[in-house]
Symmetry: C2
Subunit: 512 residues, 2 copies
Amino acid sequence: MAAAAPRPEVEEAAEPPWTLLSRQTDGEVTAKAPLAPPGLAGGKHRGICSRSYFLVLMVFVHLYLGNVLALLFFVHYSNGDSSGPGPAAGQEVSPDPGPAAPAPAPRAPAAPPTPALFGAPLTRLEGIKVGYKQKVELIPNKIHDVKTLSLKPLLFEIPNFLSEEECKLIIHLAQLKGLQKSQTLPTDDYEEAMEMIDVSPMDIFNLLDHNQDGQLQLKEVLTHTRLGNGKWMTPENIREMYSAVKADPDGDGVLSLEEFKQLNLRDFHKYMGSQKVKVSDLVRNSQHTWLYQGEGAHQVMRSIRQRVLRLTRLPREIVEHSEPMQVVRYDQGGHYHAHMDSGPVFPETACSHTKLITNESSAFETSCRYVTVLFYLNNVTGGGETTFPVADNRTYDELSLIQNDIDLRDTRKHCDKGNLRVKPQQGTAVFWYNYLSDGQGWVGELDEYSLHGGCLVTQGTKWIANNWINVDPSKSRQIHFHQEMARYAQEELEAQTEWTVDKSYKNVHVEL
Amino acid sequence: MAAAAPRPEVEEAAEPPWTLLSRQTDGEVTAKAPLAPPGLAGGKHRGICSRSYFLVLMVFVHLYLGNVLALLFFVHYSNGDSSGPGPAAGQEVSPDPGPAAPAPAPRAPAAPPTPALFGAPLTRLEGIKVGYKQKVELIPNKIHDVKTLSLKPLLFEIPNFLSEEECKLIIHLAQLKGLQKSQTLPTDDYEEAMEMIDVSPMDIFNLLDHNQDGQLQLKEVLTHTRLGNGKWMTPENIREMYSAVKADPDGDGVLSLEEFKQLNLRDFHKYMGSQKVKVSDLVRNSQHTWLYQGEGAHQVMRSIRQRVLRLTRLPREIVEHSEPMQVVRYDQGGHYHAHMDSGPVFPETACSHTKLITNESSAFETSCRYVTVLFYLNNVTGGGETTFPVADNRTYDELSLIQNDIDLRDTRKHCDKGNLRVKPQQGTAVFWYNYLSDGQGWVGELDEYSLHGGCLVTQGTKWIANNWINVDPSKSRQIHFHQEMARYAQEELEAQTEWTVDKSYKNVHVEL
């Protein structure tokens, strides 16, 4: 039975079309792995990116999809079988940059030689301290200020990165191409899948019970945004649901194991399906499209990619082989609740951009966006700030994001309470690293502090664009990706002279 | 009239003997500069390292020293005359490492060539994130863990940096050499100096009134530790003093400008002089000595210097030409209130280690300790932790260190309330950077988060040692320093074959 790839991140329809295509090629997953005993998740890392999060996510994805196989597969991994190679297998590193981990099942061992660039470490700009300004020459003979906004995440602001004319052109190109809804309303195709659920309430309870106190607090339920199937869950929603299914007789918002056991999970599902969902109830309320920046693209689009290259000082081929530009429009009432642009990486995780070329199958996939560059294309009349709710917090604790019915990730209600907000200013770029360094000059763990969102647009329209730079945390896979790219180019196969991302992309939209 | 160099930092008798010697060679300061108008400090940076802090410090040093000349000199600088070259003159840097600022008055333009090392940037270890562990080979074929304790300051812990035998040897050598009190009780030689004070109460008030609200809060007075003339001031002390001199009739701990104007500052002085001061009332209550680590030193002392070199990856000649090891003993009841190991750097500031060789005169001097490596030489029975009260705080605000009569810098009372405490563990080293990067691979501004102290030893004795690595924030001065060192060595002048620090040091104690 083929399992659709459960993906860890929030960007549902927001992902580029090539990712959607790739999902149809996922491999088989078998159900041989034993189910872990209840409580196995206790004592593990409990962040939004933790394995137990994945586990819970799977449980609930499967409440709808009716497929417990990938769950079992994941339980198998969570159960200690993480001996495979990979950057997240252990935090300890040797002091000198060692050789890259062996490429998992390289398809072409005799591929073209490794690009020379990969001897050098990936550059990370120095943050120095908040407020620090450094100068960069993004355009020959033109100096831009790069101001440090936070160290966690490592976040910078560059005023006048784009000219007013460039901003207008990008909006124009996006409109010509046409925008699509970033997230569609959930359907209830999954109802019948309920019948197939075969996970005990005890197991689900244990997975949800982050702090292992034998009770489910509201925030323990809320941190699992996937439970909402695209709908953003608020403390009020959960209370209403509890009330509707009579889950919480004493109305304190806390479910004991006894209360949880007496529930029929199908009642939850029926309730969820019966709720009228508006776009403003979704995780993301915006429209977007993709603009090509590779060879032959509009010279402004090319020029922006070159500026991003000079700004980040990352290897040219990595920047050139990254995603196209995403242009996003938020109308009045638009928002994007706080999220991370990329997912955590475990040994069994594949990157969307290298997965296609390395031809591996994996149930876990993320977009591996090392860097986000966000451009503000207009001045917004009201609202629409970019919020970084936990920027430069002393510690990161996912659960502490939700306190007393205030969910700091909620960008419709609580943007004012986060640590850092960037006001849209036409032409300004902000950029940050979604991953930490691995200490050896390559990509390390996901930076949990990179959590960010788009605040409610209270008046007018907000136009932004995103450039993501995709780097595989497995250096060997990234190198293999470039080798394959070079090989395709060498072979001059007609259908393969352009990189696969743009190819897939072409199939969906007319090129601009 | 010769002005003794007012020094910005707390380490009074704690400074190495060569610094004390150097203070006797300070140049003349004249009183030509006009006094700045009241309120000039308003709107400037208000950190513990701010210029206004210096200004206030001066006022009060001179309440005791009776010398307003250096104050006037400083006011002149504060009054906007900061056009001189120097790393702290502005935060903005060009993206590429530019040429170093011209050496101020180089004595020997045709000195030996610049050491090759100075082409490379000063290494800073990567922190990655709190809890991250990296491995280093400090001793051939022996791997040590380097664990990140905080990013602000950039702070690491290395267990088993020293063996038990090495710890015991260092203690033994220190005892053989003999320890001296780190800080002596204040004398009241300065009483007569009061007669010479010629600064208006209005000026003093404005300088103390950090938040410029027209009132002196207790914490505004407390942040100026120098007011105590070596005695650590607590909220209770200040209240008692106010009461004794009838400064605060309503007893709210706040002085209005009117209340302040009606005071006779001599009453303050008399009160301060009349107070019985115990060693436990001082900023620092410990004993210390210095152990030579240069050529010809005990092989263990040499070996530790080599390990520090491998740990920090700083240029060999910088490490070799840094201060000797300081060994400190805290008896039961000992402490060291929170302080910074080095001072801020302005264009007019000289570093103790390069000042001797560059032969410059400056009224402002600090020790320019880029890195502190602190070694725990024994396991302490009770207390004696190293506290970093503001480590990884989101923002640094000196005033917020004191809230509701709780002074987080007070290591006798409030160590438990700080952000980070390191428990002494025999053989463990911690090390941190007292300065930020300048973004060009050299030393930048003082890192205010490096504030740290030694908590009260509640039981037993605590032995630690410090290695400081001295780097002049003026790269050209540091290079000049090494050139001069090399020149002396070349000329083979008997008295100058060893570096000046050790020379001065020799004059004070018998060498070990």
